[in-house]
Amino acid sequence: MPRKITMQITANEALSAEVRRITLTGDITAQPGQFVQVAVTAAHDPYLNRPFSVHDWRDGELTLLYRLVGRGTAILAARQPGESVTVVGPLGRGFPMGREHSAIIVAGGIGAAPLLFLLRRLQAAGKETAFLYGAQTAAALVLREQFQALATTYAESTDDGSRGRQGQVTELLQEVLLKQKADIYACGPEPMLRAVAKLAAAYQCRCYLSLEARLACGVGACLGCVVPARDGSYLRVCVDGPVFAAEEVFAP
């Protein structure tokens, strides 16, 4: 059940020029793929809370990974350890555990955020995991060692070839799929998610995608965050997702 929780900041550090990690302690629970809404300021501008996926959660410690893109994330970056912050969560439907013995996790850039927690859970459930990590440049592959250490197999790609394979992370995915059947999990930019969904359909794998939208309430009340469903209706990213089965949202 989501609640409004006052949490203490214990760390708030830069992982790259653009990406930061904040650690919060307080009375919250979470499942992989769920998110929280963070009240970045008590003033009325910027007005809305900012949604961030649960990067990790254990022992009452919640970690978020966030990319500096605008005013809200800039304000968050200036918050100091010791300060408290109001968080609403846990929110949304997370990743299901899947059915196959093997799982492939596809991360695009900051889309890696929710995938650490998922990776740990899948490993803990005894699955074999392949973690495929793509980004524009080597510097954007934040926490690569962490993912590499945890996953059964690990591969990476960059647009500019500065680390790993030069090209799209979906090329890595196709190679893995040629060898094995697996449940696929992905988070990243929409074009990447569409490509992942296409490959999953082609190889007849279950596929779960974490989507983004502009949220207002984050709890399903405002109908502001909808994405078109395959059946012509609209789905709310905040409560029907953010994780969707690929076929709910993308034509194969």
Partner: protein, 307 residues
């Protein structure tokens, strides 16, 4: 001694003057995770139409300075499905107000007809002012004669409390308010959203798929307070004030301006427990100011405004 928070809106006696605003609280269940909804003075559910509506394409929300624009487009499951969800609210024992929307007076009549046998419904809030529905909607809310005609018809359709929700996008809101009053409205609610727009400078296009949307949140509070003040000078029926309320102090301001109750919309999105916090804050305020009843606050700033 606990101050008395009771207020009366038409036939409804509310245990406190605080309710969520329509469209910002779904059919209640979403916020039931955060607190016991029976604490609320009333529950106002989202705009309900005869047929189900898909609503507008996304993007539906744009953040603005101290507010948001929304262009939901009245997405709702239609009155028949809505009725089942409204019935679920009976357990909270707090009056349920259904926000009714449509394109023609027969649409509104039909929604009321279908809800008349549902005992959970305590009152209708007639939304003549949704800026995000292209046909009809806006016209209803801006012309006093059209409003009078509509409310006359709806008055004969129900004995329940009839609240008319006014649009702020008019030259003279008092004229519309008076038209609704003389046509038999039991109460008024205001304001709905101001029509606005957001443009993405980088993408060089409007942010909302619907181009325009309705502005709400703290940004609009000054306009809402002014309209509540003006309307309560000119009508005898009670007014439910809303527009940018996000804390108890804001609610007090609306009561001081003449509102008999308040609704809280967008602030729920930022603070899911804002409604119970405002209720508690009102009690605190009354105690601190040694007032026994919230009714003493209603319109209290008017006297001061006159010297």
């Amino acid at each position: 001694m606990m101050p008395d928070l009771t207020v009366t809106i038409g036939q409804l006696v509310l245990k406190n003057p605080v309710m969520p605003a329509s469209g910002c609280f779904g059919y209640g269940e979403e916020y039931a995770a955060f607190y016991d909804l029976s604490q609320l003075g009333a529950i106002v559910v989202k705009g309900t139409t005869v047929e189900p509506r898909l609503g507008n394409a996304p993007v539906r929300i744009a953040e603005t300075a101290a507010g948001i624009l929304n262009a939901i487009g009245l997405q709702n499951p239609g009155v028949v499905a809505a009725k089942d969800r409204i019935r679920q609210l009976a357990r909270y024992g707090t009056p349920v107000i259904v926000n009714v929307a449509g394109n023609s007076s027969s649409d509104y009549q039909r929604v009321i007809e279908i809800l008349e046998d549902e005992p959970t419904v305590a009152a209708y809030e007639i939304n003549i002012s949704c800026p995000n529905v292209k046909q009809g909607g806006l016209a209803f809310g801006t012309d006093p004669e059209v409003v009078a005609e509509l409310i006359n018809k709806l008055r004969s359709a129900t004995h329940r409390t009839l609240i008319v929700k006014l649009s702020p996008n008019v030259t003279d809101i008092v004229a519309v308010a008076q038209a609704a009053e003389s046509a038999g409205a039991d109460a008024l609610s205001l304001i709905n959203t101001l029509v606005g727009m957001a443009i993405d400078a980088e993408k060089r296009r409007p942010v909302l798929a619907n181009l325009t949307g309705g502005l709400s949140g703290p940004a609009v509070k000054p306009v809402a307070l002014r309209m509540v003040w003006q309307v309560t000078e000119a009508v005898q029926i009670p007014v439910i004030g809303m527009g940018g309320i996000s804390c108890a102090e804001d609610a007090v301001e609306f009561l001081l301006a003449g509102a008999s109750a308040v609704a809280i919309g967008t602030a729920n999105f930022v603070n899911p427990t804002v409604c119970p916090e405002v209720i508690a804050g009102l009690s605190e305020y009354l105690k601190r100011h040694q007032l026994r009843s919230v009714q003493e606050l209603i319109g209290l700033a008017k006297a001061a405004g006159k010297n």
